[in-house]
């Protein structure tokens, strides 16, 4: 949306031809009044363009914009319109030269407003600055406003009171994390836990009187372990732990000759039950050798939030696939009655149809098997190792579900008969000594990174000054003056003078640094960008975060902006260092922040998760995810392999799964058609790079599901919306906003008129037709793609075949999307300029003005002439004056 309102037109109209501004040379005036004023005088103002002026106020943004549009229209051959008398070559030249010269003169390069860090940038900044790699803004933090399609433009990034309030709160929680308030003094405590206080999970443990039995050595704690549920250590320290344990053996059970190894781990109470023992710290191994309960006492370090966890490490029982199958096989071989009982439990109807084995889980399963085993009438006829039923039973055992279900049942054999390990009593007492938990130690390291090490006998004030001298330049992304250091130092010293502790002063200091405008805004330095600002711009452009050590070092030594004469053209200057650094920092993976942010906004892949395709398209969350991946991964491929720009439009590759391509694009990728290629269903679902034929319906931005989805609403398509999208994001010719009094098109569900008929009626009005002449053809040409990007030939709900043909603004007739793609490939610079402008807008935080656009055009042209690719283009953009100027 162009940022001018109705009123400014009104005033501009009043002022036209007034005292303000520079007079238009008579020759130019003459041409304008002959060829333009029939429509663009102060009365008609067609398209809101009034050229009836004798002078132009170039400092007035509105005037600038009107004349820029006039310039563009004449330059693109759109004006005068084809049906009117055309300008002679000389006239054209005169008008264009005049406007071009004036525009260049009056649109100096630069002018970005201070840019507040947006959400993504803020997160990345905190993560790097404070070494908090997992930092996230809290849910509900106020959103950023989009401006010209991006959420990182100076003009759009408003700072509201809720933003600042949000920043202040986040700053407090960060400070709390790094300089936490003093804890209450630790109190000694004693806990006791008997079998009743222990966790029973799946078939891991059972209670028998005063004993808790463990039977499995599975590495999954919920299958094998137990732990007291009402003990949670408050203060990290050394504790006295006592465990009463014994062996449980019975005549009916197997024997157990070795000592039983009882492992004691320290586990956080809040850790998920899906943890494995290897996730925890082993604090003791106890050898349990007697059937009589014996106490073992030991000392161990436990940290805040932890409890202890028990596992019998050398149990016979396991939940591992193959071991369990072997074990059961042995048992079946030794005991046909046992085998027959399992057969009856799993195949109750005597045919080969197994029951849902989940119901055999736990004690219930064991009870069923035991009941069958005890039944004197149990059918033993198939209880041989070579019977089909045994084979099927073992196959089931060796499957993912079977293993767990059968093992959970089998555990109860051991619970009932042993061998099992019994726990009777646990006591924990302490702390006898306080220790630092790993979290404390990590925090100390973090503090040290921020404050530096305090030297012996260094006063608080000197310590803090040293810290500020090192930390403030990092936080503010440039050198800071002594005055600024002093301001912040006063915050801490005043606080200490009031009797607060060292940490409290630092806490306060950090909180306030994080709400300083020097931290919250970038692009602050007036005038030419210095090396530090350049480093910051480059880094936020390519990584969303602050400059890394290498960039900062280059900036400190003023190396970032150094130049050398170009090798190919001695008259040209190369900014080779910044180019080299850009090459180093460019994203490499589709998940990198820059891709998610830039592509997400340029091609709207960010919006996909909010679009819910109608169920009839059979396009669920998984498909949406692949569509997003296809577009983002393709973009990265263009970058990584420096592809020619035309590969954005008509490439010979894409990234998706074979299944997705078949379902959504309706063809099988050539490699999968090759003889002898048979893909399993998981191979079909695998995301991969797929070679495709050029010149087809799909492939390239305009045939990608994500873009066709983002430009529709999940239910139906609207050619006008797609048309405007293509003009803005592919061709770089954003049409002016639609007049307010025109209602949106509502699809005719009765099917009496098709979309084209409706739109033709809608745009008969001459006032509409000027813009719709550009919008409609590039919108209708995509009508063969439905709201999720599948090819279609009829408009839904009508019997009308789709007519995608049209005439492009330059007069080229196109019959369909394939021809449109071919036209785009021919005229690729149009697209390259558009993408380059988008990149520059995103990078500099301002919409490029006339002079800047001319520089971008020139870069695109040279890049093309030299046969260079997309990566080259970005690197050339980074070297430009537009990029290097604030």
């Amino acid at each position: 949306m162009k940022p001018f309102a109705f009123l400014s037109y009104f005033f501009a109209g009043l002022l036209a031809g007034s005292l303000y501004g520079e007079e238009i040379p008579k020759g130019v005036q003459h041409i304008i009044s002959n060829s333009c004023l029939e429509c663009h005088d102060s009365l008609s103002e067609k398209g809101d363009v009034n050229l009836e002026q004798v002078s132009i106020d170039w400092s007035n943004p509105h005037d600038l914009d009107v004349w820029l549009r006039a310039l563009d229209a004449v330059d693109d051959g759109l004006m005068p319109p084809p049906e009117e008398k055309q300008l002679s070559d000389a006239e054209r030249e005169t008008v264009l030269t005049f406007l071009d010269t004036k525009m260049l003169e009056h649109t100096p390069i630069g002018g970005t407003l201070p840019r507040r860090l947006n959400q993504g940038e803020y997160e990345a900044t905190i993560r790097k600055l404070l070494s908090l790699p997992k930092f996230k803004l809290p849910v509900g933090f106020p959103n950023d406003t989009e401006h010209h399609g991006f959420d990182n433009l100076g003009e759009g990034l408003v700072l509201s009171p809720s933003h600042l309030d949000g920043y202040a709160k986040v700053a407090r929680s960060i400070a709390d994390q790094i300089f936490p308030p003093a804890k209450e003094a630790a109190k000694k405590q004693a806990w006791e836990a008997g079998p009743e206080d222990m966790v029973l999970s799946f078939s891991a443990a059972t209670v028998h009187g005063d004993a808790l039995r463990l039977v499995s050595r599975s590495v999954d704690i919920m299958r094998s372990c137990s732990w007291p549920s009402r003990i949670e250590i408050k203060d990290s320290g050394t504790y006295q732990i006592s465990v009463d344990a014994s062996q449980f053996l019975s005549e009916k059970g197997h024997s157990f000759e070795e000592p039983m190894i009882l492992e004691v781990y320290a586990r956080p109470v809040s850790a998920t039950d899906r943890s494995r023992v290897s996730d925890f710290r082993l604090i003791k191994e106890i050898k349990v050798t007697s059937e009589k309960s014996e106490s073992t006492e030991f000392e161990a370090d436990l940290y805040t939030g932890e409890t202890v966890l028990f596992r019998w490490a050398n149990a016979e029982m396991t939940h591992a696939y193959s071991e369990l199958t072997d074990q059961l096989e042995d048992w079946f071989e030794q005991d046909p009655r046992f085998l027959a009982a399992w057969q009856k439990a799993v195949f109750p109807k005597d045919d080969f149809k197994s029951i849902q084995t989940t119901s055999l889980r736990g004690r219930n399963g064991w009870n069923i098997i035991s009941k069958h085993r005890a039944n004197p009438d149990l059918d033993l006829s198939r209880a041989t190792m070579d019977s089909e039923m045994t084979r099927r039973l073992l196959k089931l055992t060796n499957s993912y579900n079977g293993t767990f279900n059968f093992a959970d049942a089998l555990c109860h054999f051991y619970h009932e008969r042993g061998p099992a390990l019994e726990l009777h009593q646990l006591t924990i007492e302490g702390p006898s000594k306080l220790i630092k938990s790993p979290e404390n130690l990590a925090r100390e390291k973090l503090q040290e990174k921020i404050t530096g090490v305090r030297k012996e006998e260094q006063s608080k004030e000197v310590f803090a000054r040293e810290m500020l001298k090192a930390f403030l330049p990092r936080a503010f992304r440039k050198p800071v003056s002594d005055e600024t250091v002093k301001s912040y130092l006063t915050i801490a010293t005043r606080h200490w003078d009031e009797g607060h502790s060292l940490d409290e002063g630092l806490h306060l200091l950090l909180r306030n640094i994080l709400v300083s405008p020097r931290f919250l805004y970038r692009s602050l330095e007036p005038g030419e960008m210095n090396d530090f600002d350049l480093a910051t711009r480059l880094s936020y452009f390519l990584t969303q975060g602050p400059a890394d050590a290498k960039l900062v070092d280059l900036a400190q030594r003023n190396r970032l902006s150094i130049t050398q004469p170009s090798e190919s053209d001695k008259n040209k200057t190369e900014y080779w260092v910044i180019r080299r650094e850009a090459d180093r920092l460019l994203p490499k993976k589709h998940t990198d922040r820059m891709i998610q942010s830039f592509v997400g906004q340029w091609l709207d892949t960010r919006t996909l998760s909010g679009i819910m395709p109608d169920p009839k398209f059979n396009f669920g969350e998984e498909s949406t995810r692949i569509a997003k991946y296809e577009t983002e991964r393709s973009f990265v491929e263009m970058l990584n392999t420096n592809r020619p720009m035309t590969d954005f439009i008509d490439p010979d590759f894409t990234f998706a799964s074979v299944d997705f391509i078949q379902r959504n694009y309706g063809f099988t990728p050539p490699f999968a058609l090759k003889e002898g290629t048979k893909l399993s269903s998981s191979e079909k679902r695998k995301l991969r790079k797929v070679d495709i034929k050029r010149g087809g319906r799909h492939g390239g931005l305009l045939g990608q599901a994500s873009i066709l989805m983002a430009t529709a609403n999940g239910v139906d398509t609207q050619p006008v919306i797609r048309g405007v999208w293509v003009l803005e994001n592919i061709l770089g010719m954003a049409p002016p906003p639609p007049p307010k009094d025109v209602p949106a098109l509502t699809p005719d569900t009765q099917g009496t008129t098709n979309p084209r008929e409706m739109l033709t009626a809608h745009t008969k009005d001459a006032a509409c037709s000027a813009c719709h002449q550009s919008i409609d053809p590039v919108g209708f040409v995509l009508e063969n793609y439905d709201p999720v990007g599948r090819w279609r030939t009829e408009w839904p709900g009508t019997n009308a075949g789709i007519d995608p043909s049209g005439v492009l603004p330059d007069g080229t007739k196109i019959r369909n999307a394939i021809e449109f793609k071919a036209w785009l490939v021919e005229n690729i610079d149009l697209f390259s300029e558009c993408l380059a402008e988008q990149l520059m807008t995103y990078a500099t935080g301002r919409v490029p003005n006339y002079a800047e656009k001319r520089e971008i055009e020139e870069i695109v042209k040279i890049n093309h002439e030299n046969g260079n690719g997309f990566r080259d283009l970005i690197l050339a953009l980074v070297e430009s004056k537009t990029f290097r100027t604030r």
Binding site: P114, L159, S201, W227
Partner: protein, 424 residues
């Protein structure tokens, strides 16, 4: 950007609340701040409770429809309270099946989208100290969500009763800490401001003007801190309620945690700390023991009962224990009155349900649903037939609930009617 009224209103309400919590709960100025309710009898609170593993349908739904139905096995603890609730069968969101789609419970046909409780909170939550609370019992992990913001962000849940307690009943120590942070923060702002002004002076006109936003916001935040400081020493609600010395967060202590969460919810409603709370009842492999007897398998294992009668029986005993907690909650709400003399039960719409219709098959159709309180005409089993062409959706019931809470809505997810005819 100018600093605007909403914040000041918020603070005012907070202060007002804090005073209210101290003495009696009655306060004459209350009406001045709440929008005039369309109906004075309209309930003002909304509680939603959902189980991860569903409710065994055969034991949950009564066999007969209408007011003379025989109490079902699962709902037996509510037998004496039958006039306080209504059971619904045949309702769902026509949402996809599977655990992955569980969040359809409060989100409707599209899982993990703007949830019912958050819609209510966004509408009426502003008027209390906390817009809403999201709670869970029995979760050994907190990666799941039942409540989703307008933007589809899954909200984290409070798992530890002690954390909820701390928020509801600020301790003297916490109060002091907040005061300290505000006080110190406010005094330090001068120096930041001084530096910011120096910065602004160095910038050319347009850039400097851009920073005006910063200074305006700065003053607004400073004022807000001042107001917070003014009200910091206002009394906070107090309670005699004693938490256990440990947080019952391991899954096997779920029922214990659930009871405490319900108790705290009663206190939150009583002190008008919030109007909207959701409680998520998770289910993993934990093996419960009732009356000293361990059940035949873990909770999750039992839910995959494969129609085995022993497993179903044990599963239903867990679900009955959940309903037992609900019954205890309803009784407490019956006994307590709000500031206007209405029972908290009449003042509170309670929705109990799940996103999982049948955990044994992972089907999300025919979701067991129960509504209690809120001043509805209860005592009924409203059975609808989903096969009928114009069968109501669960969303239609949600619309009725929202309208009851005074919201002007006629749409929820894929539903755009209501059940006011059947249920009022």
């Amino acid at each position: 950007m100018k600093s605007k009224a909403p914040e000041s209103l918020h603070t005012h309400n907070r202060r007002h609340f804090l005073r209210a919590g101290a003495a009696t709960l009655a306060l004459p100025t209350l009406e001045a701040f709440s929008a005039p309710a369309p109906d004075a009898s309209a309930p003002r609170n909304f509680i939603s409770v959902g189980t991860w593993l569903g409710w065994h349908q055969n034991a949950f739904f009564p066999k007969d429809a209408g007011t003379d139905y025989e109490m079902s096995k699962t709902l037996m603890p509510l037998n004496e309270l039958r006039d306080t609730f209504t059971v619904f069968s045949g309702l769902d969101h026509r949402a996809p099946n599977g655990h992955g789609s569980w969040s359809n419970f409060l989100s409707g046909a599209t899982p993990a989208t703007y949830s019912l409780d958050q819609m209510v909170a966004d509408e009426i939550g502003e008027k209390t100290r906390f817009a809403s609370f999201e709670l869970t019992a029995g979760a050994g992990e907190v990666s799941k969500s039942m409540s989703y913001t307008r933007q589809g962000v899954g909200l984290p849940m409070i798992q530890r009763p002690s954390v909820l307690y701390k928020q509801l009943f600020i301790s003297k120590a916490d109060q002091k800490r907040t005061e300290y942070v505000l006080q110190s923060g406010k005094s330090a702002l001068d120096m930041v401001l001084e530096d910011a002004l120096r910065l602004q002076k160095s910038l050319p006109g347009r850039d400097g003007a851009k920073l005006d936003e910063y200074f305006e916001s700065f003053r607004a935040v400073e004022k807000r801190m001042g107001r917070q400081l003014d009200s910091i020493n206002d009394p906070v609600p107090e309670t005699n309620y004693k938490l256990p010395s440990y947080d019952p967060i391991t899954p096997n202590l779920q029922i214990e945690a659930e009871e405490i969460m319900y108790d705290l919810m009663v206190l939150a409603l009583e002190t008008e700390s919030t109007r909207v709370m959701s409680l998520f009842l998770h289910g993993l492999g934990q093996v419960f023991s009732f009356d000293g007897e361990a059940l035949s398998a873990g909770y999750h294992g039992l839910s995959h009962h494969g129609n085995d009668p022993v497993m179903i029986n044990d599963l239903v005993s867990i679900e009955t224990a959940h309903i037992h907690c609900l019954a205890r909650f309803i009784r407490q709400l019956q006994e307590k009155k709000n500031t206007a003399g209405k029972t908290l039960l009449d003042d509170t719409v309670i929705l109990l349900g799940t996103g999982m219709g049948d955990a044994s098959r992972h089907s999300n159709a025919n979701l067991p649903t129960l509504v209690a309180g809120g001043g509805f005409q209860h005592g009924n089993h409203i059975a609808t037939d989903p096969k009928q062409a114009d069968a109501p959706l669960l969303g239609d019931l949600y619309i009725t609930l929202m309208q009851r809470l005074g919201m002007e809505v006629d749409q929820f997810s894929n539903a755009s009617r209501n059940m006011n005819q059947l249920f009022s």
